[in-house]
């Protein structure tokens, strides 16, 4: 209880302090986190979306079952999801250095972020497509639609609200990952939290960054739900 009171006091006393001394750092941290999250989400979807679509299309109940390809994809996705991100960060370093030229900074951090997010996103997309009403797909087949047409004009259309919620979920997960990326030179809010809160014993700064991260996640969550709800014509 005593420690807690000290924390609150410390917070209120140094709030002014933080505003003047650390505001630049915090703004930069927020921008870095946003940059890493946004870039990683977009590029990871560029790869994860087709992989997820392929996984569902080639599945047993899919529109074009291909058991061998499906098993291989499933294996890759599962392995990808099993590697703890913080280990992936370090293991990927040589690759990052090859692509970006360095392992330091938000740009370099996006490499492991993207690689770590792709399997997760593929799973999300696959699930969004899997839960679709198979009847609509059957109706499209009965009209002579090709596989490609079914994917683009039926599946992705009907699953869009669900996919958008998936985007929301994966970007929030990535926000969490950026904090870990911070530990190996990534920068961002998470990095500040660890550096100041853990290494420098300045819990006030850490708490501010935590609050900022919570607000960021809330905003992403709300936007995701809002957009998903707005475009969903099934549940008006």
């Amino acid at each position: 209880m005593d420690n807690f009171m000290k924390l609150i006091n410390g917070l209120s006393n140094t709030l002014n302090d933080i505003m003047t001394n650390y505001s630049d750092m915090l703004v930069q941290g927020m921008l870095d986190t946003l940059y890493m999250t946004l870039v990683a989400t977009i590029i990871a979807y560029l790869f994860g979306l087709p992989i997820g679509i392929l996984a569902e299309v080639t599945s047993k109940d899919g529109i074009h079952p291909m058991p061998v390809i499906n098993k291989v994809l499933g294996f890759i996705i599962n392995v990808g999801r099993s590697i703890p991100f913080i280990i992936l960060l370090v293991a990927i370093m040589p690759f990052t250095r090859m692509v970006i030229g360095t392992t330091i900074g938000p740009k370099a951090a996006t490499v492991p972020l993207i690689i770590g997010a792709i399997p997760f996103i593929a799973r999300l997309v696959e699930n969004s497509l899997k839960e679709l009403d198979k009847g609509v797909i059957e109706a499209a087949r009965s009209m002579g639609a090709s596989d490609m047409q079914i994917v683009f004009k039926v599946m992705l259309v009907e699953a869009l609200p669900s996919i958008i919620l998936g985007v929301s979920l994966s970007s929030i997960t990535l926000v969490g990952y950026t904090a870990m990326a911070g530990t190996v030179g990534g920068r961002g809010l998470g990095d500040i939290a660890i550096r100041y809160g853990y290494y420098r014993y300045q819990p006030d700064v850490m708490i501010i960054t935590i609050i900022l991260l919570v607000i960021l996640v809330q905003i992403i969550q709300s936007i995701g739900q809002l957009i998903s709800k707005k475009i969903d014509k099934k549940n008006t």
Partner: protein, 269 residues
Amino acid sequence: MIKIKNLTKTYQNKKTKTTVLNNINLEIEDGDIFGIIGMSGAGKSTLIRCMNLLEKPTSGSVHIDGINITNLDRKSLSKVRKNIGMIFQGFNLLMQKTVEKNIAFGLEIIRIKDFVPENMKINEYKSLSYLEKRKVKKVETKRKVSELLKIIDLEDKAKAYPSMLSGGQRQRVAIARALATNPSVLLCDEATSALDSMTTKSILTLLKKINEETKVTIVIITHEMNVVKEICNKVAVIDQSEIIEQGSAPDVFKNHQSEITRQLIGGEL
């Protein structure tokens, strides 16, 4: 004209082999409203799905207008399917698209170079540039959709979404969608089973009207005898994977041979 010859469908599941359809022989003539009736699980759904190859027969063949469609390649099958419309018990509309977009779907998936315009000579169409063709297709699609909206009496719902419609309205949209490509056959898979009796009657009336005006051949599968009674001119009774009776509707009702038929007739009272 639809001919089904010695059609058998079995499912192999590790140890057990299930026969869903056993040596089915049927002939449906142009303009028929052909009912296929049976209890749940008798094989009706599988049979109608074999007619447009949504299910592939294990043996036997399906012939539509003289063409054996049983082993066609994907492209040819896709072409054949544009000539066969289908409606379902669960309607199966695209919930994220408007009524008009749903009705236009069958036309939307036809490639511009494969499109056959109604209001233009085909040679003239073929001589147009890609962009000109696209315009013609767009205009014709719009016209067709309006025409169909009128037939199904839902002109004021063109821009509505399926979630805003009742079951009967959704089925009407499904019917319009199925007819957009001017098919010669319309398959109806338990199309009224999810609707109340009044709505069922209005849907059946609509189907009969369409059959009279366009001569489209209609195949209806159902477990409800009153549906068959209402509009079918011919009927086949299916029980446990086999056709046990078939003939003209009045004949089968009056002079039914089997116990199952008697039960089905009696069941709707």
